[in-house]
Amino acid sequence: MSSRGALTRGLLVLAVLLLLSAAAGLWIGAVDLSFEDVSSRETARVILLQLRLPRVLLAGLIGIVLASAGATFQTLLRNPLADPFILGVSGGAACGAAVATAVGIGAFPGGVEIAAFAGALLATVLVVAIAQRHGSIDSMRLILAGLVLNAFFSATILLSLSMIRGSDLTRAVHWMMGSLSGTTWSDVAVVGVAALVSMLVFLLIAGDLRMLSFGEEDARSRGVATERIKLIGFLTASLAVGAAVSASGIIGFVGLIVPHAVRLIWKRDYRVILPLSALAGACLVILADLAARTINAPAELPIGALTALLGVPFFLLLLRRSS
């Protein structure tokens, strides 16, 4: 199966799946809506267009960002465990949010989101700084740096959470388990820009990243500026993840599992994995959010728990079939 053939077939299948997921996401919710409702009732239109539509869009965008960032990290580091969460980027974002809540910045509208964004950026800078040695980024050191940073961030999160009063604690925990409730168009815009820019950058460096996946020496001998490509890929992925976490809280698992699933079904070529992961990630997060807001409606469940719940059996099935 050629790369192009696999890509075309994969894109077709996933595009259909994505359309179906988005349609389901728009049609199903805590409140039952009919065609008649939407055409005749103002409230029904508000629910559909101001609550569900931005939410489905944000879910899709977050799926794109997390899955493409995961695919990029895995290729950059030639390490199947590389993922925004393992590298500490999501942890940094959550840490920023928790600290902001603890010190009272969270009381200001947008304060928690901005702090999460700053945390992700800080994590990126730190993890690169720690991993960089003699001008080059060593994969082992990078993973180790992520591990150490994660330990530091969780310690800081626990510490700041234990100092917050009871009511704030519920809120902070819910935020850290991920929620798309209260999605606004500005959230959609922020993550939309992040998704667009990061996908463009990833596509531009896709050829070089593919070379990198065969080995650094090899890539360098073929004229790839390996250090620069690594830095660009890593920074772009981290910033995009920071934007996603700041809009939704921590939604785990997507960046790790989606690229693996794509690799198991289709191809090992990054140029194929990247776009397919983006589409599959969008499907997974849209469906997970649909489950989060309907299973126990009108109560909402944390979406982070559901991405894992939906993703793990699927992943295990794939693993079994491929072995």
């Binding site: 919710g29 805590a30 409140v31 409230t43 508000v46 629910i47 101001q50 609550l51 569900r52 009381a107 200001f108 509208p109 234990s162 009063r165 009871g166 009511s167 704030d168 604690l169 519920t170 809120r171 819910h174 935020w175 929620s179 409730s181 209260g182 606004t184 807001r293 409606a297 009108p298 109560a299 909402e300 469940l301």
Partner: protein
């Protein structure tokens, strides 16, 4: 010179090993708790528990409190033992003969750890409104009488003038984004009903609530805790173009602050919380 030390050691060991002769009482969870006949030193682990013990006439027996306890005023001078995960060392240092906690908010390991220190743990149940006067009575008995008058007065205040016939749907918002609300089968929901309202939330507990449901079945009046939610957040909700502005109660200014400690703390002052909700609903009825 060695003898006094040996005696002291003996005394310490015997105190630790043989529990004092005492009573067996049943606490709010239905557990059997061995307590001394006369309880002199108490540590309370939740603000509502502190208030309930004080209402039961045992304020002077409290020797330490959790760090959220702030009422009645003399409590401010007492040693604090932490919150959620209280310090066992700080509790032990106060040499309490009873620790009192609430049904929510303390780690499950607490009972075992306190048992290892030889300190009994009594748990107070305050999930529903009627639990509160009952808790005052039980605590009064625990401390050897007292509290009956306060409990009876509280019951009268909570049932004084049954306000019915108000067909007003009330939502108590704990936080707007993500939206957390007070559901049915909670003391807060009981307060809303006693004030003649109906809880706009049909589910029980303290759920994260769907905005779709809020827009589809909008409440007539929305209450929020004034200390927990900053005024900037509230101002934002009513802003032009905000989705919340679609909810008539917010658009029409039927969004009212309530005093956190009177309404959201299941203690003896809930009657004042009920009066506050009653005043708001009455005002809305008249306008």
């Amino acid at each position: 010179m060695r003898l006094p030390f040996a005696l002291l050691l003996c005394g310490l060991i015997s105190q630790g090993c043989s529990p004092q002769e005492g009573l067996t009482v049943i606490d709010g969870l239905g557990r059997e708790v061995q307590v001394p006949e006369r309880i002199e030193r108490v540590v309370t682990l939740a603000p509502n528990v502190t208030e309930l013990v004080a209402a039961a006439g045992a304020l002077d027996r409290i020797v330490g409190v959790d760090s959220e306890s702030d009422y009645p005023p003399p409590i401010g001078r007492l040693p604090k033992v932490g919150h959620l995960h209280p310090s066992l060392e700080a509790i032990a240092a106060l040499r309490p003969d009873l620790v009192i906690a609430s049904t929510s908010g303390n780690p499950p390991s607490l009972e075992g750890s306190l048992a290892a220190l030889g300190v009994p743990l009594y748990v107070v149940r305050t999930e529903r409104l009627d639990d509160i006067p009952s808790a005052i009575r039980s605590l009064g008995e625990l401390f050897g009488g007292g509290g009956e008058d306060v409990a009876a007065q509280l019951e009268r205040d909570l049932t004084a003038s049954p306000r019915s016939g108000r067909s007003v749907r009330v939502l108590l918002m704990l936080w707007p984004d993500p939206l957390f609300v007070a559901g049915r089968e909670t003391f807060v929901s009981d307060l809303i009903e006693r004030a003649g309202g109906t809880n706009a939330v049909a589910m029980s507990g303290w759920p994260a609530y769907s905005l779709e449901a809020l827009v589809e079945e909008p409440p007539d009046v929305i209450l929020y805790p004034e200390d927990a939610i900053p005024s900037e957040v509230i101002a934002e909700l009513g802003a032009e173009g905000s989705l919340w502005n679609r909810v008539p109660a917010i658009r029409n200014g039927k969004l009212h602050p309530i005093p956190d400690d009177l309404v959201l703390r299941p203690g003896p002052r809930v009657a004042e919380g009920l009066a506050a909700i009653d005043r708001i609903l009455k005002m809305e009825e008249e306008r």
